[in-house]
């Protein structure tokens, strides 16, 4: 694990989820870095949508704290309104969407609204923002989050962003037109979802992390794929680009 941080690995794993020419609902922080890394490596034609109304192909020249920072506006492909980009999302024109989460459960449902822990007062979180929309409407959802037992719970206490609900064909039963979580990228591992039951399956562990460690930090008996991989580490090229994008390590250290 020398030579790179787990966050750098997460950025690389995120970037690898983007194919060239795809339309990506970007988000901020690690997903944004992942998008920029993908643009600089294997997906130069990828297109980024931001829920504030920005469509952007050319990466911004400076680091962004928020998607509405002036460097994200300067030389954007288009600056329109939220409805314009949400309309594209609802039409099914978005291939991949990234979101984070405070809690996730066995079927990939995410909570960023209200956390109820046993015997403690409920904790109010900021809420959905566009996360629920991305989770509802993108073709593939990538969730990125810290792998902690209190976050990986059997059932989330509030479904902010629908995953596969109770599993199986729940999504189409409730009327969601497509999509669902495809991959969960954590600081320990990568989870995918069973194509039939829609239950999360451990598919890849990061170098230096044991399966037992992952299982110990997951709040339900996590299934392990019979084709379990080790997450490929960042290449030299990927690392040098990330460090150019985040020179002070604000996000990745």
């Amino acid at each position: 694990m020398t030579g790179y941080t787990l966050r750098e690995l997460m950025v690389v794993a995120a970037a690898r989820q983007i194919e060239d020419g795809q339309v990506v609902f970007v988000g901020m922080r690690l997903p944004l870095l992942g998008f920029l890394l993908a643009k600089r490596t294997h997906a130069p034609q990828a297109i980024g949508l931001y829920e504030n109304g920005i469509i952007r192909e050319m990466p911004s020249a400076e680091m962004l704290y928020t998607m509405s920072d002036p460097p994200n506006i300067y030389r954007a492909t288009s600056c329109a309104d939220m409805l314009a980009v949400m309309g594209l999302l609802q039409q099914g024109r978005v291939d991949v969407g990234f979101i984070g989460g405070a809690e996730i459960d066995r079927f990939g449902n995410l909570n960023t609204t209200l956390v109820r822990a046993d015997g403690r007062r409920a904790i109010r979180l900021p809420g959905s923002g566009g996360a629920c929309d991305i989770a509802s409407l993108a073709h593939r959802l990538i969730a990125i989050m810290a792998h902690e037992k209190r976050r990986f719970r059997e059932r989330v206490s509030y479904i902010t962003s629908p995953g596969y609900g109770e599993g199986g064909n729940w999504r189409s039963a409730v009327g969601l037109p497509r999509g669902g979580p495809s991959v969960v990228i954590t600081d320990k591992a990568i989870l995918e979802f069973d194509p039939v039951t829609k239950e999360a399956v451990l598919s890849s562990v990061h170098p230096g992390i044991s399966v037992d460690d992952v299982l110990a930090h997951t709040g339900w008996p996590l299934r392990v794929s019979k084709d379990l991989d080790e997450t490929p580490p960042p290449t030299e090229e990927e690392l040098s680009i990330i460090r150019e994008l985040d020179p002070r390590g604000f996000w990745t250290r």
Partner: protein, 300 residues
Amino acid sequence: MTLSEAIEQYVPDGASIVMGTAMEALIPFAAGHEIIRQRKRDLTLIGPISDILFDQLIGAGCVEKVIAAWVGNVSGGSAYNLRRAVEEGMPRPLEMEDHTNFTIALGLHAGALGVPYLPARTALGSDIQRRNDHLRSITCPYTGDRLIAVRAIEPDVAIVHVQRADEAGNCHLWGNLGVTIDAVRASRRVIVTAEEIVPADVILSDPNRTLIPGFLVTAVVEQPWGAHPSPVVGYYNRDNDYFHEYHRETKTPEQFHRWLQRWVLGVKDRNHYLERLGRDRREALRPRRRAPSAPAEFGY
């Protein structure tokens, strides 16, 4: 009209106000702080996200209800006043109507179009939908698809900040627009703060950039730096440090009240605030390069 007069006249106690319509940019902080100074009460705040402005109004005790998709500190994380209000009822209990960005946008769009609701495919199966009676389940009369009906949102007041306007309130604005246009059209009254009041000729030279026509505007006020610490493209960048300072300095009610005294209650008006901010800090936020748009030709 001064900002103080505009808030006094057009923002009564109990009003519903949509703010922060351009997301993380062009947030009308000057107007929001004036609302706090005038000790408005029982407000309903509406917006997709609001960055820290909603948190300040909540902490100052102005707010009864929030209709929003996200309330926090975009670059910092949690908003402590929101948490205290929801979790502990401090300084007063707060009703939350949770939405997604898209359902807020559609609710305002319905208001702007003059229909009582708009259909959507988002949020189905979520607790947001299940717990919000303004996001009812419906069935498409053509396809039989299950949809949600997003009920129209018609705020009493929209408060928006723009780059430039003329004296009649015709506004040029640019950058990401968020839900600004629909918010303005959906609202009964519109208060505009503008970085600059410019001659009407400037506005008339580009009717395609006049996204807010003056006849929809109730009051327009020149308010340079009216969106600080949020950015206004072409005028100033985001004051990221300010957001981080806010996050560090508002963890307890006592800390928040010190912060509020320093930046809101203890300053007379926006000019006083800008003085306190200091010239150097402002200058550091100014654009370092010029990048004017290529002209569009309207001659005939």
